[in-house]
Symmetry: D2
Subunit: 362 residues, 4 copies
């Protein structure tokens, strides 16, 4: 499977940055779910560039649900969502010189030069828009079943947000914030760092941190289809994500077992852990505690400094100076993609475990 | 798919810690590959506990190839490898009290109490032995095609190994070292830290770092089946792995694009990058440079301190003090599992891209 | 996987009879294949109803390739093809009374009443149009590699066509015939039978027979992914197909082994069989001889006689008399769907065996 | 996937006719199912050759459950079942001359001569033994949920059995009959025909007919994963099966829609069909009526007449006269394989639809 992901709930992605439309087919959806198109719209709005800290290529994303929804509810058959590409400037792109940090050169290797190179073609971050549209449906489904997801920028250019506190409250707080940070002073400092990078023709990266509450215990598989494995598989789809860690993640390296283990306690007839260093997952399977993970997001590779490249026609070394409209940071826009991917993966796990009709849809 | 992984080359895992045998079925192998059973044996030897820094449960792993090999060569049909369990002490385990940091409680949730709880059952690290046996075959196949893999302990209990230098040399150096570290003084310090933890009835974690050389460019898929995504999916199968990062990984968070991008240069008619911050992968696809990644390994959860647990029959809080034979660290034993998983995943990518007979087997 | 089929080359289908568009995403296509849109158009033309022997719902099928084709050639990334629905008369359909022989009642069971019931919704034969569009691309690819597929109506309403003779010639003869029969007198008799059924408000079924020439030997898998198994899996997707047989098929029941076995002979340095009772497949794997199979096509269930049905709201027995525009036979239109499905499946087998770039595309 | 089949419930097959063991890994089984080893034994007994009408290679099939069963019940983790090969006579086989009607030549093409040729190697009908062992577990699971499967020989060498009557009664009647025929006089005539063929050094084929009762409605998928498609995919795994038809199957070719459609009636608050020409499936989805299908079984290719073959080393035409122990018919032994495959496929459909724990296991 190349552009299809999932087992019971699957997503198939298609399109290029400068084609007529991009889109997704979401299959395996339980029938009868009420589709709130405004919520899809608001999620796409979160992904869209806003203000000085983002690219000037702003598109309205007037998506169309082509199939799988009838009289406002899912039918159970594949949902195809189309989003037109409107604001394209293909003239900004030429084929000869691959951009460092992008997929231009690897696409050339894989597709022997037949790839649509304009705007990154199929590799463009633009294709996260249909993922967000599909993810919005997944989020609706999970919410109806008491599962909530929230992501904040934990670090950006060395600036830290405050840690997650009361998760329910923090997830609400993040809600539809265009710049998803828990502490306002951190948000301001981060935005300044982005603007500074933009002025320098440069870009910044960071770390996104995600919390999921309400997942039942006993979901996931031992060995190959662990919750960590499948989630990371999908999260690495997000352009610029280069690391994924669960619970303490890389910080486990300096801990001892006595610090890392989460003790178990019975509270109100339910088993909980006294700490949550393992991020809600043991042996690949949910333990009923919040799922916690972080994604490393590399700085946007589209920068305006002079860079080394190779003319693939002549095989001569050349220097490349980008034109066009680019993001000095995409991490704030990537958070809704992380939420979407997470929702789709968890929904798929639930449907595999409890059946395609598992959900309480009303 | 639950205990099966892969697309063209697949691995199916089965068994429990205290069952009669554990094993793996490896399918999709090109026919005609000469099987070196001694190499399988030597890889299993690397996984086995040795000395004071490991568990006293040592097993000989006298594997048997039940199918798929005829007259010393692969036939192209499924290879089943069986490894008997011999040195089991089931009396050390009881069902009532789930061990913190282990899968005992999540297994109870998922399997409603029907799981084989002895020694962790199906979740036992013991099941990495068949993965190593299958991985040895993958490593043989990759070597015949010029691809080499090496892993060292980058960090353990705050002690750092030296970074990778000349990769070919370092991979050879790591070869069949029982404690895979590049700088001898680091190795000694790390081993002391493990022994100290053992004396304290405690355990330590660390970070494994892996390099792959010789992979052709143009392998992997955009979006869902990126090399990062599929590799991390499989790597999270390794018990105790809680984070995976590629290239600079989480360090990207504090870099700017101008530092993170890898410039391109033509060298001898081939395109290379001037740095390798992206770890050999752009847009999910190999660029021909070495693949570099790191796995966070949490401290072994089996420790001898008193821990909080819940009696699942009575739902009363109790304290748990482990008996039995346990590892104060498994990171040095985990490296051969990382190499094995990596080899299996890359082989599968190559077989999907170039066909089941892609390999030069002679 | 629900509406996605294939391993290396995959097809994802979406849409409903009365939605705005129906479509398909074809993934895993080798890059660089020249796309002949006229050929896609001519294949869709073969699927379209013509004349008195078909439904009066005729649509132009002005497909749009939304992605995956750039400057006239495949890029290697997913190809999405959209076909608008224009000529719909939703008023002809109501939900209450399931039509016998259709999927109305089973859709109700599966989707709890949320399905789009208009014109059969997602179950409509209309969705074979995107399959034909995708299949046209597969046929182009196979032709470039010397593989040809042809299907004729072997039997219809008791009338037999002549058997396949020289396959190359017969496949050319069938080419773009709207009524794919090898012997003209049979064609006339069959068409009369269809017209007679139409006058009676009734419908007829038949048998389609397919030949594939040029497939290399050694393709397919033992046991589960036999050529027979995967082909039949896909062929049963075609609405109305209720049986699939290879080589002698059900006629084997009355043969002895001495009649059924195909002797082997060396001809010009190549092994051939003296007969082809096994239809080009032994042990699930191609033997290099023509692949031969037949599909049983049941009579169209949309007929104008009074039929028994149940009002699902009231659970009262009622009688149903269909209105609308229906086909008295679909077998002649189904043949291009059979060719398409066959091409897609064989292409997938070749890509799995020889790699995604296996093809000679120029 | 090559030797693995299924989505939620999967089966992975391995082994060769003359290897030490053959086996299967069954994964995705709900935990807690009581395993009746005697039932597995009795199913293997049905598959085993008996008397004059079968091969003289009789093996006891002393299977071993290596994993996934603990204290007599399934654990929910993979069940590996091993069956030793004991009664092998490898001297009866040589590699040079492929046997007509067998997979010898296609295996040579696919595996380049590295296949284990002894006794058909991986292609041997012997590998149906582990399928039967896995199928026995599936049959236990289905029975606990009110689903029963029965298969009889409908036709053999031109001799017809009586049609299915009252299905519940007939399924019980077939139960553990070594020669599964509903009418005793037909059974005798068929057995005589087999003995006659054996005396002639020849073999016979036939048709198996299967009925499934108790399946709920609404199971299966539209388009690609129809019940017909997935069942036929799996059924063609059975060596010698060359055709599969559902309901009236190929007899639909001569019917009109008015004869073929199954009217709907409400009976006791439930919808039933007045006839069952469609074999319990509409639009690929179960309608709650009995599932009915037939498999064409070709005559055993191992016959003792002189046959044409080609020496693959010399590429010279030669004649081949088989030695060894062979079945003059395998259809009576194949019925338990059909039941097993059917049970595994339907169980997988139920687990996908209703979740891995769908079953009432007590």
């Amino acid at each position: 499977m190349k552009n299809t992901f999932g087992s019971s709930v699957t997503m198939t992605l298609f399109g290029e940055s400068h084609g007529s439309e991009i889109g997704v087919v979401l299959d395996g959806v339980a029938p009868g779910l009420l589709i709130d198109e405004d919520f899809i719209r608001s999620q796409l709005y979160l992904r869209r560039p806003h203000g000085k800290i983002s690219t000037a290529r702003v598109e309205d994303d007037p998506f169309r649900i082509v199939s799988g929804v009838f009289e406002g509810r899912t039918t159970g058959t594949p949902i195809c969502i189309l989003i037109p590409n409107t604001n394209t400037r293909s003239g900004d792109y030429s084929k000869g010189l691959p951009r460092p940090g992008h997929a231009d050169y690897t696409a050339e290797c894989k597709y022997h030069g037949y790839q649509d190179y304009r705007g990154g073609g199929h590799f463009s971050g633009r294709l996260t828009a249909p993922i967000v549209a599909a993810g919005a449906i997944a989020l609706m489904m999970l919410r109806k079943n008491g599962i909530e997801i929230g992501t904040h920028i934990k670090t950006l250019a060395g600036i830290e947000d405050r840690p997650f506190g009361h998760l329910q409250t923090d997830i609400e707080l993040l809600g539809d914030a265009l710049f998803p940070v828990l502490r306002e002073s951190s948000a301001l400092a981060m935005q300044q760092a982005i603007e500074q990078a933009a002025q320098d023709g440069d870009s910044v990266g960071g770390v996104l941190e995600t919390a999921v509450i309400g997942m039942p215990c006993g979901v996931g598989e031992p060995w190959f289809d662990t919750v960590e494995g499948v989630l990371s598989h999908a999260l690495f789809s997000i352009p610029a994500v280069k690391g994924v860690e669960f619970g303490e993640g890389f910080a486990f390296a300096d801990m001892r077992g006595s610090e890392a283990n989460d003790g178990l306690r019975a509270v109100g007839g339910k088993v909980v852990t006294t700490t949550n260093h393992n991020g809600g997952i043991n042996g690949g399977i949910t333990n009923g505690m919040p799922i916690l993970f972080r994604c490393a997001v590399k700085p946007t590779p589209s920068i305006f400094c002079e860079q080394d490249s190779v003319n693939l026609q002549t095989m001569q070394n050349e220097t490349l100076t980008l034109k066009g409209r680019h993001d000095p940071a995409i991490i704030h826009r990537a958070r809704v993609v992380v939420d979407s991917i997470t929702a789709l993966v968890l929904w798929d796990f639930l449907a595999q475990r409890f059946g395609t009709d598992f959900a309480d849809i009303d």
